[in-house]
Symmetry: D2
Subunit: 343 residues, 4 copies
């Protein structure tokens, strides 16, 4: 533990928090949010590849002056909760080890999002902790809030499922969705820190492109959640990469099982999200800058002349699409105000 540089806090913290995998984009942001959180104490940040470096040397804008260490599962005394920002597949064994020591876990990977092992294996390969599979709560806060209160293991949704399901949930809950197309786009932070020709500035500036056009693993996750809400509809899903850092837009096209009128649908959305602290239903199309560096989700819905619903949701893919929502859920797990530490 990094006692000397542990974060000063007024009063006793609600939890002492570890962020594992803190040198990647979402892990670093999770560390930054916990660092600035009024009720949480960031006591350790770990990284295999960058152990020994200070986080503010990698991400100066986050201003977290802690040193990254290698995770040592034998020295976790005093840790109450962990946010795990590991790659899919690699997360599960560490999550299991942390849970075995009674530590609350918010997992940012896909390892505990899906409910069917067969689906998991098709898209991600063998699971690293099959005994735990199916035991986590799916952390789409606006849908599963009650189950999240007091949960021990939470699987943070993928960024695309977060935006897509929030864009469609009011209709899905009424069983109104028939056939769905999700055209999604996000910035390069969604690609992760791992260096690659594709995300070199010289390759990405003045560029944009679709990817995973033969099938993206967020599709079964979106279908799973829409079905759980009441609309077991097939989803066509195509993501695109844009020349910007943080931001994600889901443009969703849906045929409905019964005719719907524009005003009616817009009223339904306003009502559904009226009390949500982080979802705002707009009167016109959203833009990515308005939600950047926030945990906000901006939603707009309309119905075109011939009856197709078009629903948009804009989020910051590493905030509401990952680490922000992770902390939102951690707040609920700990009985804190859901919005604490978030903007």
């Amino acid at each position: 533990m990094n006692e000397l540089s542990a974060q000063p806090l007024a009063g006793e913290p609600a939890a002492r928090v570890l962020v594992a995998g803190a040198s990647g984009f979402t892990g670093a942001l999770a560390a930054a949010i916990v660092w600035g959180h009024p009720n949480l104490q960031l006591v350790a940040i770990t990284s295999r590849s960058d152990a020994g470096k200070r986080l503010d040397s990698l991400y100066s804008r986050y201003r977290v002056p802690l040193e990254l260490t290698e995770l040592d599962l034998d020295r976790l005394e005093g840790i109450d909760a962990a946010i795990v920002a590991y790659p899919h597949g690699a997360a599960a064994p560490t999550v299991a080890a942390l849970r075995a020591q009674g530590i609350l876990v918010v997992d940012l990977s896909a390892d505990f999002r899906l409910r069917e092992m067969e689906t998991y294996e098709r898209w991600y390969g063998e699971h690293g902790a099959p005994d735990l599979f199916g035991t986590g709560v799916y952390g789409l806060t606006e849908i599963y809030r009650e189950q999240l209160r007091g949960a021990k293991l939470v699987a943070t949704p993928g960024c695309y499922p977060t935006a897509s399901v929030l864009a469609l949930a009011p209709l899905a809950e009424r069983g109104l969705l028939a056939d769905i197309v999700v055209n999604a786009m996000q910035g390069t932070s969604g690609y992760g820190r791992s260096s690659d020709d594709l995300v070199h500035f010289s390759a990405m500036t003045e560029n944009a492109f679709p990817y995973k056009t033969e099938g993206h693993r967020h599709r079964p996750e979106i279908e799973q959640e829409l079905a759980a809400l009441g609309s077991p509809a097939p989803v066509t899903f195509v993501p695109h990469l844009l020349p910007l850092d943080q931001g994600e837009l889901a443009t969703c096209f849906a045929q409905t099982t019964a005719p719907v009128a524009k005003e009616e649908v817009q009223a339904l959305y306003r009502e559904r999200y009226a009390d949500e602290p982080f979802v705002t239903v707009l009167d016109g199309p959203p833009n990515l800058r308005a939600v950047r560096d926030t945990n906000e989700c901006h939603v707009y819905v309309t119905v075109e002349e011939r009856g197709r619903v078009i629903a948009f949701a804009a989020i910051d893919n590493i905030w509401k699409g990952a680490s922000g929502q992770g902390v939102q859920n951690l707040n609920l797990m700990l009985g804190l105000d859901e919005t604490a530490g978030l903007v």
Copy 2:
């Protein structure tokens, strides 16, 4: 006429060309392409707002050292052809005046694209030259090549219809398209030069958003052309603005009237476009950088597991989506090599 600074050319030009409205983004590019064209002589460039300025003072990278003048319809002697880059609605009267003097016209506006006056009036208002309405050839070169040879008035398609129809034409021609969703995105050059808060660099960087979500006037144009090809299917169309200059992507989702297999569709596309000088069928998804500053259209098609066709087309919105295609058509009108002066 700007005789002194008229463009030097080896040999007699095939045509002496005027570009009207040359201070906007598409007009300036049209002037630049004509300036560099081996068979055309750029003899005049006009602009109301920027008369008296040299084009290279506005667009230094195009290196066209001519002075912009006000268009004087009484002094057009010696002009063989004109490219008109006026706003929709404003173009028609000027096009009519030019045609009355026997000048070949490539119109970049929407004024002669639609075939139903009722549709035109709904989306654009009163038409400025109703006698000429319906007399132009729709300048989607890959579809109307034969009619374009020797045509006198050509309506250059909108950028979104160009990309969308090229993405879907091989299926449309077989009558295979049923229900269509076009999710399109383009850079800020598509917004035009007219200054506006929205396209200030400070507003657009790190941003992206859908617009015209309640109906965009390119939709009836896309439907008109798909119907003309054999697939009178309804189209849902949503455009987005991206933080880049030149580039446009149409991501098209189509249900088919009969089941289609991926390999079959891909073969169909390769065959359909095999001889097209500016359409390349790729083996994977396109990207915008590959077509920037070119007249190329990159197409990719796939069929997802449950049978929906996903077809992509990437173009440079001011080249193949406007001025480049305009010159491609002018080449045909003049009996020149279709690719002359283009890259």
Copy 3:
């Protein structure tokens, strides 16, 4: 006054604040900072051109739900302080009218920065309130902190002088500066909201250029302040515009009046800024992302082999370079914690 939508605040505010000219980039940010300030109440925001609009319709990311009104100097009862974000020249008369009613004023324009009327007139033209000229405190907080406590009128420094003087102050205070070159660069927010071909996204992306190469009016301001600190040295100053929104870097090259050693100069800087809440002396060159959306100034100094000092300062040009520093000073004027409401 916009009573109904005035900002809710826990407890009695330290001041009720007006932001005049709140629809421009710096005015809007000033309004946003005051809106989020724990001790200030934003009671009115004014704009001539955008009166009637809500600020969050212009700048959604700032989330300030107040309506812009026209400034009415006859209805300012209850206003304790004003931040004036008017163009140079236009600010002075309004500042005078506000001061005449006893309202504290933070002026973001250049109208009260210079000490010689002759210099003002050369660079800005006739002054709009000559009686007040010379009565304001120059609001470079780190230099004039004591005079700012309880001041009635504060002239917020230009963005370039803020960065340049902070980069050079420790040496200027010792009288060590001889000959100075400041090469500065900033993002397009520094150009202002006023639309213009130059800052259209299509013109600015993949571009950068020097401007005002024959003389920029921030040069006399930099020279005035370095002289006031003890180094009346000539300054060569060239600014550049970069393809980014917020951020400014001053790269300063200085000959010294006596030889200096690198370690010595670096120690001097660390000592000079040790207690400054918003100035951080780095161990290596700064970058703009680290200070974006903050009131921070990141400084680095080195001495090259042959003895020339190279000093860098990075700020967010609309935060520490304008509105952030404006609020920092307003805090001092009101006896509040200097850092209140700032990040």
Copy 4:
């Protein structure tokens, strides 16, 4: 050799060309320029790391359909000339091996730029072909044109020296330069293709920063060349990285050995570069977009009130700053028109 896909050419080529190291940014561009060159035939492109891939799969916009192979020094029969785009240090042995077979070499690395071995070793380490050191011609075309005609080995200058020396040469040749500061900035293509956190789009967008502030190895090269021209003045040099792909600006500040007047200096520049095909002396400050994707150098010079000269040069760092100038020189080496194949 890649005979099957060798480039078709009208008539006998002036030279059959190999590009070694063609998978990096400058090597790929060199290959693309040669591919489109009317008198050169691109017969082989090599790469260690990407052997087996086609160049257009890495750089689709260059449209070079050749396959990268590993360089085999035993199978170079038929190669007349080579452009070597290897890292500094690695280039020398390969250059020596190519020269030993009589192949003309344009080297893009720093290995043959410097004239003092001691200087080379200080900045680059041990030299890989000391026998050849000092035998190449420094390929700043506008300075060494006569020596370049018929040269066998040409060292292409660094991008910063190219811009800096072209900005200052007219004064340097008169022995007028005393004390020089070069503030340079370039886009991320200058950083090279090698992936790195720094040039990830997410790190670089909305960012800019100085680097190598304690000494950059282009400084001795600039000093060497200014001295050779007649002005052995010390140079302070600080480079910056900008959020754009291709483009470089040198902003040069110079004290002069004798007073100079602005009009006089501007006339001197116009005269000096009057016949240069790729250097344009502007009437105002240059911008990077105007030279992108061209071999142009845009120069502007002014003299400030107190007599300091400020000279600007804008180039595309991978064109005139590397591969474009490389081909310009190859044209001279082969007796071709200097501008052939270039824009």
